[in-house]
């Protein structure tokens, strides 16, 4: 890998940064306070082609590589983690189609997704199937040319605002069927009869991003909406997560960077005992650690993106590592940012308390940190 | 051989009177002429220059009044510039001083283009040292440069409020003169003149500016600003946020993409002082701000800042000013 961004990548990153600083940052506190999905930010991202980044140019997208998508997520998340998630979820929900969709399916949906006219979500998790993905109970039963879906999904990011949902359902629960061959993937369209949003969670952080419980009661889905082969759902989900985890790592790096910047600016201005507190070694030490850790997480993320895009065989290891490191970094850096601000860090006059609340989710979704460790350990200790 | 004179361009206000800025430029030029031992001559060009020329003659010993009917219903800048350029070629003064407002800028640009004389713009101070030595404030006030002309001719445009207008001890003479020949630069017709109900005097010329920003919360907040401006004999200014929100016209916007002002007093209510606004007003002599936020940038560079609610402090200041006057 060359150790520098290409001119295009730098130009796109800078353009997103300007947009984030000027148009998204001023809205961040309000989005958190009202816990309302920021449709205006979604429009802003759409109209500046940012939601087009994950899709090939043939479908009206920008054909962005994973690194470019992550650069954009990082810059947006610096200003507002909820807004950064809009792009991350658009990519996450689209990945099953990108990886396993037919040309016809891509033609059908990608142009509108790339233009931001449609939003897509990823519905894998259930109340009883979090880390244990294969334990899903939502089923899809064949009926002529269609499938009938029954079940429910929990903790689905943006599930209540999405137009399309990539749903993973059991299509083969035969006794002899191995666990990883039980699931298939389907695109459910929000207007399909029997699909409902049951509830939206009240969360610690990323409060503007609606996290929904979705129910499927006899939802009739045409076979043309099945993504990939029957029984291929689990590998599709795993391959999706391999490519989408860097997006969460990018969100985490962005959150950390945003917190670092606020803490640094504060430490330079705030005077106690006649001097800016950045003069004091304990504060300076904390800031140095925050900066180094954020940079380390960032570099691992960028490298992971390049490796994954290059088709590295150990893509899973890269993906898990960058998410593990970035998530833990975001939590540590935001907690320290609150510490640097002291009492002011605890009140909502400054954004660091929100950033700390936002950071926690990066250690939980798209695979908990414990799952990431399992993935890494398995790759490390697997017999040759 | 006597050194060539210094000329002053007298601008006309829309009603035909002499623009305030020209009285200031004339005062400045007169002072330079005295230091330099050179004649100072004013030039007024317009469809009916008599009144303005007479007024300008209070400030300089001699004024040329040029009647140019075309300016009645055509854009004046090009016409005035062309005639002034021709007069300069005819009478060969060394220096021309003009105001650095929209009218003066247009004229200076045309004269420079036609005569090839250099321009030093937006002067905040001018002294004479064998030629004008001009101080200009650049980069939004971050640097003050001192410049001069490399030769013996040049054009200087002068910012408003740099000099206080002061009539001469003796009123000067006005002589009508004309420039022959057709105008060669294309004429731009004025099809209509529209008066906006909320148009205000050019704020660059005001000695005192009271300005409001986002903190005013809406167009009604500007009533307080107007009352304070009136009490202080000043003009109303605004930040871009207030203009973008439609609370006040663009003509009163101060900042990087609005006007640059240098009043004696800039009183800012509900203005954070972000850099884009700061560059428009930071060279004011005195800056007083009222803001709820002690960490607002303006609290750093104002001379005096009141930390408080502008809707309480503002009326209190107004009351105190009125009590003083009454």
């Amino acid at each position: 890998m060359t150790y520098r961004l290409t001119e295009d990548q730098a130009a796109l990153r800078d353009a997103v940064r300007v947009l984030a600083d000027e148009r998204i940052a001023p809205r961040a506190a309000e989005i958190d306070r009202t816990a309302e999905f920021p449709w205006d930010i979604k429009e802003l991202l759409a109209s500046h082609d940012i939601l087009g980044l994950p899709y090939a140019e043939a479908y009206g997208g920008l054909g962005g590589d994973l690194l470019t998508v992550c650069l954009a997520i990082e810059q947006i998340s610096r200003a507002c983690a909820t807004s950064g998630l809009i792009l991350a979820v658009q990519e996450l929900g689209s990945l099953p189609l990108i990886l396993a969709g037919t040309d016809e399916q891509k033609q059908r949906w990608f142009p509108d997704l790339a233009a931001g006219k449609l939003l897509i979500a990823f519905a894998l998790t259930e109340a009883e199937a979090g880390s244990d993905v294969a334990a899903a109970r939502t089923r899809a039963r064949r009926d002529g040319d269609d499938w009938i879906l029954d079940g429910s999904k929990r903790f689905i990011s943006q599930g209540s605002v999405a137009d399309l949902i990539a749903v993973f359902a059991v299509t083969d629960d035969g006794e002899g069927t191995p666990r990883h061959k039980r699931l298939s993937c389907f695109i459910v369209e929000k207007d399909m009869a029997g699909f409902a949003v049951e509830r939206i969670e009240h969360k610690m952080g990323i409060r503007g991003s609606p996290t929904a419980e979705l129910s499927f009661r006899g939802v009739r889905v045409p076979d043309a909406n099945r993504v990939g082969g029957e029984g291929e759902g689990f590998p599709i989900a795993m391959r999706t997560l391999d490519r989408s985890r860097p997006g969460i790592a990018a969100q985490a790096v962005g959150i950390a960077q945003g917190a670092l910047e606020v803490a640094t600016a504060y430490a330079r201005e705030r005077k106690q005992f006649g001097r800016p507190i950045s003069d004091f070694q304990m504060i300076a030490g904390m800031l140095a650690d925050m900066d180094s850790q954020t940079e380390a997480a960032r570099q691992l993320l960028y490298k992971a993106c390049v490796e994954i895009d290059a088709g590295a065989r150990d893509a899973g290891r890269w993906s898990a590592m960058c998410k593990l490191v970035a998530g833990d970094t975001a939590m540590r850096v935001t907690t320290d940012a609150v510490q640097v601000l002291g009492g002011y860090g605890y009140i909502d006059e400054f954004p660091v308390e929100r950033m700390m609340r936002d950071a926690k989710i990066t250690q939980l979704y798209e695979g908990t940190q414990q799952i990431q460790r399992l993935v890494i350990a398995r790759a490390l200790t697997a017999r040759p | 051989m006597a050194a060539a004179p210094i000329w002053v361009h007298g601008e006309l206000a829309p009603d035909g009177s002499l623009a305030k800025i020209s009285t200031e430029v004339a005062t400045l030029a007169r002072g330079l002429g005295e230091s330099a031992g050179r004649d100072v001559i004013g030039v007024v060009i317009g469809s009916d220059p008599a009144a303005a020329a007479t007024e300008l003659a209070r400030f300089v010993p001699r004024v040329l009044a040029v009647s140019e009917p075309a300016t009645a219903d055509h854009a004046a800048g090009t016409i005035v510039g062309e005639r002034l350029g021709a007069l300069i070629e005819r009478d060969t003064p060394d220096y021309l001083f003009a105001g650095a407002g929209p009218e003066g800028r247009d004229v200076a640009g045309v004269v420079s283009g036609l005569t090839g004389r250099g321009v030093l713009v937006n002067a905040v101070a001018v002294r004479w040292e064998d030629g004008p030595v001009v101080e200009m404030s650049v980069f939004g006030g971050k640097l003050t440069t001192t410049s001069r002309f490399t030769g013996e001719q040049g054009i200087v445009t002068v910012r408003p409020n740099v000099v206080t207008a002061e009539p001469a001890a003796k009123t000067g003479s006005v002589e009508a003169t004309s420039v022959d020949g057709e105008l060669s630069l294309p004429l731009v017709k004025v099809v209509d003149r529209v008066e906006a109900a909320d148009a205000a005097a050019p704020i660059e010329e005001a000695r005192v500016i009271v300005a409001g920003g986002r903190g005013l919360g809406g167009p009604d907040g500007f009533k307080l600003i107007e009352e304070l401006a009136e009490a202080l004999g000043g003009a109303v200014g605004a930040t871009r946020a207030a203009v973008d929100a439609g609370w006040i016209p663009y003509a009163q916007q101060i900042g990087q993409t609005g006007k640059i002002v240098k009043p004696a007093l800039y009183l800012a209510l509900g203005i954070s002082g972000a850099i884009q606004h700061k560059v428009g007003m930071q060279t004011a002599d005195t800056i007083v701000a009222v803001n709820r936020d002690p960490d607002a940038p303006i609290a750093e560079f104002a001379d005096l800042v009141v930390i408080g609610d502008l809707f309480e402090v503002g009326p209190a200041i107004l009351a105190a000013l009125r009590a003083r006057a009454g």
Binding site: L12, L19, G52 | P102, G118, F139, T150, V306
Partner: protein, 259 residues
């Protein structure tokens, strides 16, 4: 229609490193990132809106140091079709007279319906160049535009020129030169597609020798020195309740002889 927009790279006001080089007092362009002059962006935005409404394209013209292409890329990313950068070592440190003449010479070799320019530049506050260019090219000159309306049937352009009392409605045949103000509307952010397209747009670099009639002349002005203005005295902070605070403010104004 074809519109030429005059753009000038200037130091980014929001950064703080502007300085003049102490040896010759010329602008130290390496010290600080350059951006397109803010007012020129409004001219560019106006041009893009006009060509969207009436068809045609927008091209950029700039006289600047060779590093300028980066700042022109942003203008291309906003939607200009191509650009010409006039750059030559002989033009380093040019004054407004040379700039005016070189731009006029460059425009003589171009075809256009309108030339748009921004009002004032933040790095030297000239604002006199467009008027000089119009005079040299014998173009109708319409300044301080708050609104621009080309009229196809008559091949004229109608402009609202901001005046102290409101605005004047000016009309002139095209081609014409119009100086733009912010009142024309916010410049767009370049879209990502625009940024990627900008890479392949044509940016021609011309030296003085490539432009007929263009030459550098000895500058008519010289900078003698530059310094930061004297720092303001420490801010007096008043935290008392409104009535008491108001008394202190008025006393301060009296002290400063403002009332």
């Amino acid at each position: 229609m074809r519109i030429v927009v005059l753009v000038k790279p200037v130091p980014d006001t929001a950064s703080s490193g502007e300085r003049l080089r102490p040896d010759d007092w010329r602008l130290d362009r390496a010290a600080v990132p350059a951006v397109v002059n803010a007012n020129d962006e409004y001219a560019l935005e106006a041009a893009l809106k006009l060509t969207t409404a009436h068809g045609g394209d927008v091209v950029l013209l700039s006289m600047a140091p060779p590093a300028a292409p980066e700042t022109m890329r942003k203008a291309l990313a906003m939607g200009a079709a191509s650009g010409t950068l006039v750059t030559d070592p002989a033009l380093a440190g040019s004054d407004t007279v040379t700039t005016t003449r070189v731009l006029a010479a460059a425009l003589r070799g171009m075809e256009y319906d309108l030339v748009l320019a921004g009002a004032d530049t933040s790095d030297g506050g000239a604002g006199v160049v467009p008027a000089g260019v119009a005079a040299l090219l014998r173009l109708p000159y319409l300044s301080y535009a708050a609104k621009i309306e080309p009229l196809k049937e008559t091949e004229t352009v109608r402009v609202h020129r901001i005046s102290p009392t409101g605005y004047d409605v000016l009309e002139a045949p095209m081609p014409a030169l119009v100086v733009c103000t912010q009142a024309l509307g916010e410049p767009r952010y370049p879209s990502l597609k625009g940024i990627m397209a900008a890479r392949s747009k044509e940016l021609t670099t011309s030296a003085l020798a490539d432009i007929e009639g263009a030459e550098a002349a000895e500058p008519t002005t010289a900078v003698l020195g530059a310094e930061a203005p004297p720092p303001r005295a420490a801010t007096r902070v008043v935290r008392e309740p409104a009535e008491e605070a108001a008394k202190q403010v008025v006393a301060f104004l009296v002290e400063r002889r403002i009332v």
